[in-house]
Subunit: 305 residues, 3 copies
């Protein structure tokens, strides 16, 4: 199947057919990785990884995905010292990079920058995170992880825990899960960090079942507990951050007898005790690994259109 | 044909035969790029991209050129934090990098650094810009663009517009065009940013026709209008920069009925209105793209000597 | 022969059989490099070069080694701006990178970080320097250089000159040479920079012959004079640094009629006059080059276990 889009800037572009096709291709890519054989289907192709804002995890994952398929990578990380600094527009930078590469993955601190970039790009463009905006490949690898860990997505019950207000990944994943049937949502957060209106409006419009609570234990009986980090940089009031940062800390004893799959976009800074890592529930490092086959799938599908 | 040099540090090294041979090889490389087939003639070779000063455009273009020919790249960008910082000489750094790579492209903020590097390098060395000094691959891609856009170089009329005093690219391109027959030059700048003596002396010595004017419209009837950016960092007096920065801004209406080819080394910061981009005159993004085949040609010719 | 370890964090892990096997494999790799043929025995494999602290020389050498064997590289240099900054533990970062690469080389400013990393890594891990701790691949390339320059290691007489107190390479090389028979040591330093107890204890325990002196000329009659840089950053008292920094400066005239092989881990900042470079005694650039075959050998042996 062909994807319905040339550029991926937001999870909102994805139909269920798109999402299913990507998951299906990612499963094939997982087999490529498991076999450990050299695969060169993207030989001769170049990915430009443009990271105006550093994100080592996302960048290395994209680069590994491209290299695992025999492609090559050119990287610009910490753009602030270069052309941008001299005042070049995103549009000009993207048009320039179009001359050098076959596909672009861009991380940028400004919301909307990905749409501006995609509007001028003649080669496929992937948003690798635009500030508080979208980070669709993270949402897709989250979705792939759910499918892999639980067998199916339809009908599952997902708890999102922590910073639901600023947590970009929580919003994107909600929109993506909305494509599936009878997914139930539990939003666990303190009052100050509740999911914003755009998320709850979406749920009501779609007629999806959800509850909101501050009670952490509500997460343990779900299929998925999606933990998030409370980000210091989101708070203007330091004392509020100090009060909330460790409001939900997952310990191994809380998971005793529970089948819940624990996810986290990483990095964690104390939200999950390291003793949890050894439990079968702990899926967050497998989740990180899933970034590679999902991005391999996207790179191949977008380059092959 | 073999090039007459092992290292490329300045356009002044180039004979017309050298320049023609590079343009001819660049045309072949363009065909390699157009076919989109995997080319591996530099397989097993390593380019060291040493950027003491960041220049994303030039670096990515060199790296893409090397990768498009099946070669590999090792990169050091933002050298200030590393050995250099510990006081190592350029000579020692270059001798060290000779142990790791097969060819070097170096950007450095100090004029003369490229000559020092080339003097000790046993592997081919390419100057990718040494401060206010030379940037020969930029001049070569400019020359290639003129040849490609206008069919021939002999006899053409070229306007250079903007900062002709500090604009390194304007100086290098003038020297290179001086190798060709009956090229006419029009230098368009405010009094404060006129071409320096080294340029006008060169033109008079060679007996080349040139005029100097502050009138922007003189550029529109030439074959080429080579626009440049007025660089803030060249001014000690901020108000002078503010007065001059937008002295020549090219708008689409000024090009109505004109066949002039508009070039710019990029990045632009307002010298060319974005509405110009859609006109056939606008060659600056094609010019950026030409950096790839020209650098492919140089890498192959220098490695093949 | 198989190495006795999966991860290389310290020279103390190495048996003589390990060291000999690595030198033997490095000699094969030297032949690969001399032939200049494309070698692809690590095709499809990815090295993650994680440099929390910049070290251009070590990083480029590791990257070149991987590329020379047909492998690929993903690099994170200047980690401070990324996840680490958000407070991620070394253990989590290494576990994450395990998902993307097949082998890791890490440089980190904190002593002990390499052991922490190796403890959680499921893929082979190489310490590329952990602060004042260990830098085993430097010691191995030093050892390989001695073997190559002098034909054999058993029975040689080695002078270590300069900062023997803080000089990590001097300590590591001493431990490694202790695996061989009848090596004699001469430690040349000012009183303030004498080799620490851990080194002299080691020598006495092993029953190895050594002398300590402040007299530079003692080095010239040895087989090897291993020069080191006096590092500014090790001194709290600036005037002491100024007094000691040029206490031992090697000049060409001092080597007249001498067969001593001069080594230096580089960068040098004045300890060896550049006129020495042309003498056959000067082995330090060949030493830098030896980093490539030694690292090629290690990468292949660890990936092939």
């Amino acid at each position: 199947m062909q994807l319905s889009f040339k550029h991926l800037t937001s999870t909102k572009q994805l139909s269920r057919a798109d999402a299913d096709a990507i998951l299906s291709r990612a499963r094939e890519m997982d087999k490529v990785l498991e076999k450990g054989k050299v695969d060169e289907r993207l030989k001769g192709k170049i990915l430009a990884a443009l990271f105006y804002e550093p994100s080592t995890r996302t960048r290395l994952s994209f680069e590994a995905a491209m290299l695992r398929l025999g492609g090559q990578v050119i990287t610009a990380d910490g753009f602030q010292f270069s052309s941008l600094y001299k005042g070049e527009s995103i549009e000009d930078t993207i048009t320039m990079v179009n001359q050098y590469a076959d596909i672009i993955a861009m991380r940028h601190p400004e919301q909307g920058s990905a749409d501006r970039a995609a509007a001028v790009s003649k080669i496929p463009f992937i948003n690798a995170g635009d500030g508080p905006g979208q980070h669709p490949t993270q949402a897709l690898l989250d979705l792939y992880t759910i499918a892999k860990e639980r067998g199916a997505i339809d009908g599952i019950k997902v708890a999102m825990v922590g910073d639901l207000k600023f947590g970009r990944t929580v919003h994107s994943l909600t929109f993506l899960l909305g494509l599936y049937d009878k997914v139930q949502f539990v939003y666990v957060s303190p009052e100050e960090l509740k999911a914003p209106d755009k998320v709850t409006h979406f749920l009501r419009e779609k007629g999806l079942a959800y509850e909101e609570t501050a009670d952490f234990s509500a997460a343990f009986d779900c299929d998925i507990a999606y933990m998030t980090r409370i980000q210091k940089e989101r708070f203007t009031d330091h004392s509020e951050y100090e009060r909330l940062k460790h409001i939900y800390v997952l310990r191994a004893d809380q998971l005793k007898g529970k089948k819940v799959t624990v996810m986290h976009p990483l990095p964690r800074v104390g939200e999950i005790d390291t003793a949890v890592d050894a439990l079968p529930n702990a899926a967050y490092f497998r989740q990180a690994r899933n970034g590679v086959p999902v991005r391999m799938a996207l790179l191949e599908m977008l380059l092959g259109r």
